[in-house]
């Protein structure tokens, strides 16, 4: 087995250029998914009619189908949908000029919403009802009670799980090359295609993801220490 170390080194630094794209998609999806996921979790816990069965079906679908299938579905559905909307609004939007990263945002934001809705639901359930009632009884509005009492406590239960879902999200973004977005995987694959060094290219991708995810895990550990103060011992 002979590995081309020169190629390995060159491609490593080239593929590092894809890290911002990966992080962009991850952060963008999280920014959308955290509020909507939280809203879904609260709606599910409070058993709001119409919304609850709707959200449940959505969550079950997103959790029950493979990521790659969701990508293909949205990647094939969104352009014609966007086109129809832009025609309806009289916009002159050229569908072929839309940056594919937009579709990536859509796919990962939608699936992460479903994942986080479940995470938040179980995290909120770890907070006793008495906490909320006590807050209301001393004159907090339910909004205040959620923001100051319930959410900080739920956060300490949610963060470790969120660390897992975020790393899963980062790993799943390696599939965006199917949508012709140039991320870590896509860059390394293109390089490998030119020089036929497949093993080296995948070793590079492997190393970059390893470093990236270990860093993210350390950040989450730091955040967990910060929110632990809300947890009574």
């Amino acid at each position: 087995m002979n590995i081309d170390f020169h190629f390995l080194q060159d491609t490593f630094f080239l593929a590092l250029g894809g890290v911002p794209v990966t992080l962009e998609i991850t952060l963008g999806s999280l920014l959308f998914a955290i509020p909507t996921g939280f809203f879904m979790a609260v709606a599910n816990l409070n058993e709001i009619p119409v919304l609850q069965p709707l959200f449940r079906t959505y969550i079950s679908f997103m959790r029950g189908t493979p990521m790659i299938l969701q990508i293909y579905l949205i990647y094939n559905l969104m352009p014609s949908l966007l086109n129809a909307v832009s025609q309806l609004l009289g916009l002159s939007l050229n569908i072929f000029e839309v940056n594919p990263i937009l579709y990536a945002f859509a796919v990962f934001a939608l699936s992460e919403t479903a994942v986080l809705a479940e995470v938040f639901r179980s995290a909120l359930q770890t907070v006793e009802k008495g906490q909320f009632e006590a807050a209301v009884s001393i004159g907090f509005s339910s909004m205040q009670a959620y923001r100051r009492i319930v959410v900080p406590q739920a956060l300490s239960a949610a963060l470790p799980v969120m660390c897992n879902t975020t790393t899963d999200l980062i790993k799943a973004t390696s599939l965006v090359f199917t949508m012709s977005v140039l991320d870590i995987t896509a860059i390394a694959k293109t390089e490998a295609g030119m020089k036929l060094c497949w093993i080296e290219a995948y070793l590079d991708i492997f190393l970059i993801y390893l470093l990236l995810i270990i860093t993210v895990e350390q950040l989450f550990k730091f955040a967990e220490c910060k929110v632990r103060i809300y947890k009574e011992v």
């Binding site: 493979p66 559905l77 599939l175 093993i199």
Partner: protein, 248 residues
């Protein structure tokens, strides 16, 4: 907007369904080999030898940080090279099914070892000690007292692992395996992408149905399996609540 041919969706479902067996084949095989690997790793993690312990932990961390598609391709390209350099045997290209099973066995080894370790640790030491005190041997105590309870704790996680495997396995088509997803991909190239959406919707329906089915089965298993083991805990909790209410 182009219209979706709903009739086509239902003609594609029976065409795709036979390939469910291919999907099931790698799910079952990977679960089997993954459990064996996971068991060995869990033993290393629970054991006293520090070197084995840290090796097992490093293995788990690395596998947890790897996207499945990367390992899939890495093995797909490196197995033939590997075999050639060791056995001097030219196998041309890899057998895709073997690559898929090896890949997911490696992943499952990592996740199942964590599940086994945590569910073993969830059982109180007192259970084991009590079994020893009434004259069980170590193996008897493990087999009859500790492991059945640990299995109950692990059940929901095992269900999740199977679902994870089924969903991640959909990536196997990228190296050319014709499973459910692979067949869908094949149909798309045969029809020159004429009914892409219909095929994917049909696939989504199949995967979704199976996921819901597996979830239901595991919930039922949990209820039926938990009858004996949880009884004590639940009743003691009720007693505690009653006591608390009494004092209030």
């Amino acid at each position: 907007m182009e219209t979706i041919h709903f009739v086509k969706i239902f003609t594609y479902i029976p065409e795709l369904l036979p390939f469910l067996f291919v999907t099931m084949e790698y799910v079952i095989l990977s679960m089997f080999f993954g459990s064996v690997l996971g068991f060995i790793l869990a033993l290393a993690k629970l054991g006293r030898n520090k070197i084995w312990k840290s090796l097992a932990n490093v293995y788990t961390t690395i596998l947890r940080c790897t996207p499945s598609i990367v390992l899939l391709f890495l093995l797909f390209y490196s197995i033939p090279v590997f075999i050639k350099s060791i056995f001097d045997l030219d196998i041309g290209s890899s057998e895709t099914m073997v690559v898929v099973v090896i890949t997911f066995s490696l992943f499952l080894g990592a996740s199942l070892s964590e599940i086994m370790r945590s569910s073993y640790e969830a059982i109180e030491q007192g259970q084991y000690e009590a079994a020893m005190s009434i004259g069980f041997t170590t193996i008897q105590a493990l087999r009859r007292i500790v492991l059945p309870q640990a299995f109950y704790v692990a059940l929901p996680n095992i269900g999740n692992t199977i679902l994870y495997l089924m969903k991640e396995g959909a990536l196997a088509f990228t190296i050319g395996l014709v499973d459910l997803m692979g067949k869908g991909y094949q149909i798309n190239s045969e029809t020159l992408g004429g009914y892409v959406l219909e095929v994917y919707i049909a696939l989504a329906i199949i995967y979704w149905t199976i996921s819901i089915g597996v979830e239901r089965i595991f919930k039922k298993l949990e209820i039926s399996y938990g009858l004996g083991s949880q009884c004590v805990k639940v009743s003691s909790k009720i007693n505690e609540n009653e006591k608390m209410e009494g004092t209030v």
